[in-house]
C-alpha cells in the first residue's frame, strides 16, 4: 500500500512542474508588452520610466528561464507575488487563503445536497426501471446537464428571493445565505451523479450475488440497500475527483451570481482588471487543490478496492 502511495506521489512531480510552467507563462501570453498593458489597466500612463520601474518590480528583465527560476523560488517559499489591483499590494497568497475556506464551504454543502438528491433518485430509477419515476428522473437529469448553472441560479433567485422573499438575493454570512447558492450547484451536480448512480445500480442488479441474495429469500429492501448499493457506489466514488473539478468550475458562476466571496469570484474580478499575479495565484491554487483531491480519491479507492492497487503497480 505504501508503495502504491509513493508511486502516486512521484507521478505528481512532473504534473506539478507542468502546472507551474503553464501558470508562469500566463504573464508572457499577454499580447504586446505586459508592462505597458498592465500599467494602462491600472490607469497609470506608461511612460518609459514607469515601464522600467514596473519591469524591475515584476522581475520582467531577466531571460525567461531565469525569470521562471526566480518565480519558482518565491513560489516554493510561499510568495505568489502581490495583487496589482483587486486588493492592491496585498500578498496574493494571503487573499486566496482568506477566500478559499468560503469556496470550500460552498462546495461541501453543494456536494451534500447533490448526494442527497442523486443517490436516492438513482436507486429508485434503477429499481423501477422503465417506470414513470425512471423516465422522469432521466428527463430531469438530461435537462439538468444541459441547463447553464448560472441560469438556474438566476431562476432560483427570481423565485425564492424576488417573489417569495425567503432568502437574501446575494451575499455571505448566515445560513440563509448559503442555501440558494449551494442548491444551485448541488442540482447541477446531482444531474450528472443521478445518471451515473442509476446506470451503476442497473449493472449491479444483474450480478450473480444479487440473484443469490434474492434466492436466499432476503427482503428486497435489504438486497438493494445492503448488497447492491455498496457495490453500485464504487463508480460514483471513482468519478468524485472529476466531479470536484466540475464543482470548482460551477462555483465560479455561482459565486459571481450570489456575490459569494470565494476564490471563484476573486478569479473573475481579477480577470476583468487583468490582475495577472492574482489570476496566476488563483489558477495555481485551484489546480493544486484539484490534483490533491484526485490523489486522495485515487488513494482511498486503492484502500477500498485492492484490485486497483495491483493493477496500477
Amino acid at each position: 500500500m505504501l508503495k502504491y502511495i509513493a508511486k502516486r506521489l512521484v507521478l505528481l512531480v512532473p504534473i506539478l512542474l507542468g502546472i507551474s510552467l503553464l501558470t508562469f507563462s500566463l504573464m508572457h501570453l499577454i499580447p504586446g508588452d505586459p508592462a505597458e498593458i498592465l500599467l494602462r489597466q491600472q490607469g497609470i500612463i506608461p511612460t518609459q520610466e514607469a515601464i522600467e520601474k514596473f519591469r524591475e518590480q515584476m522581475d520582467l528583465n531577466d531571460p525567461l528561464p531565469i525569470q521562471y527560476f526566480n518565480w519558482m523560488y518565491c513560489l516554493l517559499h510561499g510568495d505568489l507575488g502581490s495583487s496589482l489591483s483587486v486588493s492592491y499590494g496585498k500578498p496574493v497568497l494571503t487573499e486566496i487563503m482568506f477566500r478559499f475556506p468560503r469556496t470550500l464551504e460552498l462546495a461541501a454543502v453543494s456536494l451534500l445536497i447533490s448526494l442527497l438528491i442523486s443517490i436516492p433518485l438513482g436507486i429508485l430509477a434503477a429499481v423501477k426501471q422503465n417506470s414513470a419515476i425512471d423516465r422522469l428522473t432521466l428527463v430531469g437529469a438530461s435537462l439538468g446537464i444541459a441547463m447553464p448553472v448560472f441560469w438556474l441560479g438566476l431562476l432560483l433567485i427570481l423565485l425564492f428571493s424576488v417573489h417569495l422573499g425567503w432568502f437574501p438575493v446575494c451575499g455571505y454570512g448566515s445560513v440563509k445565505h448559503i442555501i440558494l447558492p449551494s442548491i444551485t450547484l448541488g442540482i447541477g451536480m446531482a444531474a450528472l451523479t443521478t445518471r451515473l448512480m442509476r446506470a451503476s445500480m442497473l449493472e449491479v442488479l444483474e450480478e450473480d450475488y444479487i440473484i443469490t441474495a434474492r434466492g436466499k429469500g432476503l427482503r428486497e429492501r435489504i438486497v438493494i440497500l445492503k448488497h447492491a448499493l455498496r457495490n453500485a457506489l464504487i463508480p460514483v466514488v471513482t468519478v468524485a475527483g472529476l466531479q470536484f473539478g466540475w464543482l470548482l468550475e460551477g462555483a465560479v458562476f455561482v459565486e459571481v451570481i450570489f456575490t459569494w466571496p470565494g476564490v471563484g469570484k476573486l478569479l473573475v474580478d481579477s480577470i476583468s482588471v487583468r490582475d495577472i499575479p492574482m489570476v496566476q495565484g488563483c489558477v495555481l491554487f485551484v489546480a493544486c487543490v484539484f490534483v490533491l483531491v484526485n490523489l486522495a480519491v485515487d488513494i482511498s479507492y486503492g484502500v477500498l478496492d485492492p484490485r486497483v492497487r495491483y493493477e496500477r503497480s
Binding site: 504573464m27 441547463m147 480577470i271 487583468r274
Partner: protein, 284 residues
C-alpha cells in the same frame, strides 16, 4: 457500419429529437434576416423593457431591442463558434494523438506529459486564465477553449492507435511497402476515429455552455453582439421589473445544449455494440 449507425439512430427517438432541433437551429441561423421581426441591434428606447406583445413577441430589453430577434441572431453566433471550436479541437487532438501513439518513444512521452498537465486543470478555470492574459472577446474565448480541449481527444485516440497499430492488417500493409503517413491516414485513423465522434457531439454542447458562460461573465462576446450568455447577463439587472429578459436566453441555451447532448448520447449508444447488447439483455 455507417448504415448500422443510421439505423440505430432512427430507432432512437431522443437522438432523432435532437437532430430535428439541431436542423431547426441551423435553419434559423442561416435564414435569420428573413425570420427575425426586427434588427437585433436596433434600439427603440421609448419601448424599452416592454413585455411580450404582438409587435415584440418576446418583449424588448433594457435598450428597447427585440429579444426574439436577438435570440434568432444569437444562433448565428453560438452554433458556428461551437462547431468551429470543436472542429479545430478535434482535428488537433486526433492528429496529435495519432502521431503520439504511432511514433511512440520520446515524442509520445513528451506529448503525454503535456496532456497530463492540461487534464489536471478544471477546463474552464484554465480557459479563464488564458482569457485573462489574452484579453476578453469571443475570439480569444474560442482560442482558450481549443487550448483547453484538445488533450482529451489526444489521450483517447492515442490509446486506440496503440492497440490498432499492432494488428495484423497494419503489419500486412507495411510489408507491402506503404509509408508511415499512408498507413496512419488510410488504415489506422478510420479505425480509431469512431469512439471520439460522440465525444465531439457532446463537446459541442459543452462549448456552447462554456461560450455562453464566458460571455455571461463579460469575458466572451462583447456588446452589442446578441450572444445568449451576454443577453442573460444584461437581463440580470432587470430581474425585478422585467424577468423575461433572462428567461428566454437561458431557455435557448438549454434547448440547444440538450439537442447536441441527445444526439451525442444516441451516437455513443449506436457506435458501441456492447451497450446495445446490454440494453437488449435488460429489456428481455
Amino acid at each position: 457500419m455507417i448504415a448500422d449507425v443510421f439505423r440505430e439512430l432512427r430507432n432512437n427517438k431522443l437522438a432523432l429529437f435532437g437532430v430535428i432541433i439541431i436542423f431547426l437551429l441551423i435553419f434559423i441561423a442561416i435564414f435569420a434576416p428573413f425570420i427575425a421581426p426586427h434588427d437585433p441591434v436596433d434600439q427603440e428606447l421609448k419601448k424599452r423593457l416592454s413585455s411580450p406583445s404582438s409587435e415584440y413577441p418576446l418583449g424588448t430589453d433594457h435598450l428597447g431591442r427585440c429579444i426574439l430577434s436577438r435570440l434568432i441572431y444569437g444562433a448565428r453566433i453560438s452554433l458556428p463558434i461551437a462547431m468551429a471550436v470543436i472542429g479545430i479541437t478535434f482535428a488537433i487532438g486526433v492528429t496529435i494523438g495519432a502521431i503520439s501513439g504511432y511514433l511512440g518513444g520520446v515524442t509520445d512521452e513528451i506529448i503525454m506529459r503535456i496532456v497530463d498537465v492540461l487534464l489536471t486543470f478544471p477546463g474552464l478555470i484554465l480557459a479563464l486564465a488564458i482569457i485573462a492574459a489574452l484579453g476578453p472577446g469571443i475570439f480569444n474565448a474560442g482560442i482558450a477553449l481549443v487550448v483547453v480541449g484538445w488533450a482529451g481527444y489526444t489521450r483517447i485516440v492515442r490509446g486506440s492507435v496503440l492497440s490498432v497499430k499492432e494488428k495484423e492488417f497494419v503489419e500486412g500493409v507495411r510489408a507491402l511497402g506503404a509509408s508511415d503517413f499512408y498507413i496512419l491516414v488510410r488504415h489506422i485513423l478510420p479505425n480509431v476515429i469512431a469512439p471520439v465522434i460522440p465525444l465531439a457531439m457532446l463537446g459541442i454542447g459543452y462549448v456552447i455552455l462554456a461560450v455562453a458562460g464566458l460571455s455571461f461573465l463579460g469575458l466572451g462576446a462583447q456588446p452589442p453582439m446578441p450572444e445568449w450568455g451576454a443577453m442573460l447577463n444584461d437581463g440580470r439587472a432587470f430581474m425585478r421589473s422585467a424577468p423575461h429578459l433572462m428567461i428566454f436566453p437561458g431557455l435557448a441555451i438549454m434547448v440547444t445544449v440538450l439537442a447536441f447532448n441527445l444526439l451525442g448520447d444516441g451516437l455513443r449508444d449506436a457506435l458501441d455494440p456492447r451497450a446495445r447488447m446490454r440494453e437488449k439483455v435488460i429489456e428481455r
